[in-house]
């Protein structure tokens, strides 16, 4: 839990009022932060490993570092949000 608290402390601040009518469950919200870190770490690991293979000449293509590999939605223009990035 210490790990999560630390993460939460250092993360961005953006004050918003959720309009949601569902009870999201506090546990489910905390878990998302944690899963985000796990998956983010995996993406970084996969990309650097892929790039290593590329540099060693084992793999032909350089890996893409985007989470969005979905060709069907890649043409959709992104809209900026005030998520505090």
């Amino acid at each position: 839990m210490l790990f999560i608290n630390t993460f939460v402390e250092i993360s961005h601040h953006s004050i918003f009022v959720p309009l949601a009518y569902l009870d999201p469950g506090t546990g489910s919200l905390i878990l998302q932060m944690l899963i985000g870190i796990v998956l983010g770490g995996m993406v970084i690991f996969r990309n650097s490993f892929g790039n290593l293979l590329y540099m060693l000449g084992i793999r032909k293509n350089k890996t893409e570092d985007s989470a969005d590999k979905d060709s069907d939605i890649s043409d959709i223009e992104e809209v900026n949000t005030d998520e505090g990035q």
Binding site: A20, L22, G25, G27, D82
Partner: protein, 465 residues
């Protein structure tokens, strides 16, 4: 003017009927969200057939003074429920929900709920029906994450790792299968699967542990859009990897059996088509439809058809066939239904989700081919009850009588005492005449089975008991 009984949880708006038209009121509190949705997301989703289209109608048609806007959504011919879907349908509904969430995030919005009831099937494909389910994304965690896991991930993973019949738990748990329960039911080995561990097992533990924790401290913590997209993609990959094969059930190759000769089967099809052409129904409920060979004959005539069957494998096969045919005859919707215990009215006040019988209102025709022996002999339902049940489902009926000499009936009688003295053609026809006018009787070639085209007598308007 009447509010829909299922439309009350979300204060953003609700659905109601006015002069037989289905309308959705957008309340003032949702005004700015609605405008952002219209501007940034609506057209993209409609283009991709991911959400029902709507037209904005005059505010004078509003239900109450709180109305900011009134919309008239595209009509869905038949409302089905997740506990009536085959595995493949629930899986496609899950992937549709995730796809919408991905697109929404890109366009600066997020889904505020992920209920399986927000998906319906239109022309053979899943489509989102709740236009008011979006809110601007401003770094908040995904409110609907737990709901998504309960409604989709839990039943799908239970079906794959335990048993397909566990999909029926969705009938008991109207807001999806609770994660602690799912976690306990899944095999221990699923804990070694990272996806299952995170989204089900750890999720269940977190839910219990933080049940009483306040959300306050989280309100000031934001999550990045890319992080959320990662989570959604991860869920997408997990759902894609869950597969259930129709090989596992007994019924999907029922037609391959030896109930008819080739000529007899062709003859049965021809008679069925003739009956459809005489009655010319706009809608049909095919009971015991199996993989839909006969439902598809109705589909070819563009008759809005629901193909009910007891067997998950048969329904899935039928659904996959429609997909594989590139949605030819897609006016047919295959669904799972156990006729010996059909979908009840469930949810708040028993009004949230309509029963099987309630949804038969306005159906023109019902067909029950090679079904009677399963109901009457395998399930001990008197013939009279069965026939009365048919009158409650449609103005016209097509029924097949399967006599005791038929080897399928003989198989059913093998393991039990024959207590069915009145199970014969003469008594059956006598009972039919109590409730129906018999328009046609046709004996199927090279078979002892008989088809009937029936028209309900006008006095049979009350529902069966």
């Amino acid at each position: 003017v009447q509010k829909l009984a299922s439309s009350f949880r979300d204060p953003s708006g609700f659905v109601y009927t006015r002069d037989d038209a289905l309308l959705r009121q957008v309340n003032h509190r949702y005004a700015s969200n609605f405008d952002i949705f219209q501007k940034q997301l609506y057209e993209i989703l409609v283009e991709r057939k991911l959400i029902v289209s709507h037209e904005q109608v005059d505010l004078s048609l509003a239900f109450s003074e709180d109305a900011y806007a009134v919309i008239k959504p595209q009509t869905i011919p038949f409302i089905s429920y997740p506990y009536e879907w085959s595995f493949a349908q629930l899986k496609d509904a899950a992937l549709t929900t995730l796809r919408i969430q991905k697109i929404a995030l890109k366009r600066g919005l997020t889904l505020k709920d992920a209920s399986a009831y927000n998906i319906q099937f239109l022309n053979g494909e899943p489509i989102f029906i709740d236009t008011l389910s979006f809110e601007p994304f401003a770094g908040q965690q995904w409110t609907a994450y737990r709901q998504f896991c309960q409604h989709f991930l839990a039943p799908l993973s239970l079906a794959v790792s335990r048993d397909i019949s566990l999909l029926s738990l969705l009938r008991v748990y109207i807001d999806g299968i609770p994660l602690p329960l799912t976690s306990r039911m899944l095999p221990w080995l699923s804990r070694l699967n990272l996806g299952m561990q995170m989204h089900i097992h750890t999720h269940a533990r977190f839910e219990t542990r933080h049940a009483a924790s306040s959300i306050e401290q989280l309100k000031t913590k934001s999550i990045k859009r890319d992080t959320l997209l990662n989570i959604v993609s991860n869920l997408e990959n997990i759902i894609r990897s869950l597969n259930w094969s129709t090989e596992k059930t007994a019924w999907h190759n029922y037609y391959d059996g030896d109930s008819y000769t080739e000529a007899g089967f062709q003859h049965k099809k021809a008679i069925f088509e003739t009956y459809l052409d005489i009655a010319r129904p706009n809608s049909l409920w095919d009971l015991g439809a199996n993989t839909g060979v006969f439902s598809q004959l109705a589909g070819q005539r563009n008759i809005s058809t629901v193909a009910w069957d007891y067997d998950y494998g048969a329904v899935q096969q039928h659904y996959e066939n429609i997909k594989a045919s590139n949605h030819e005859h897609c006016s047919v919707l295959p669904l799972v239904q156990d006729l010996s215990n059909p979908s009840p009215a469930v949810g708040w006040s028993n009004h949230e989700r309509d029963s099987f019988i309630e949804r038969a209102q306005g159906v023109d025709m019902v067909s029950a081919l090679a079904l009677i022996h399963h109901v009457v002999i395998a399930n001990n339902v008197p013939i009279d009850h069965f026939v009365r049940f048919l009158t409650s489902l449609g103005k016209y009926a097509i029924v097949e009588f399967v006599p005791k000499t038929d080897h399928k009936v003989q198989t059913l009688l093998k393991s039990r005492q024959d207590i069915f003295d009145d199970y014969n053609r003469a008594t059956f026809e006598e009972i039919l005449r109590r409730y129906f006018t018999i328009e046609r009787i046709d004996e199927i070639q090279e078979s002892s089975r008989v088809l009937y085209l029936l028209r309900s007598k006008p006095e049979n308007t009350s529902p069966s008991n």
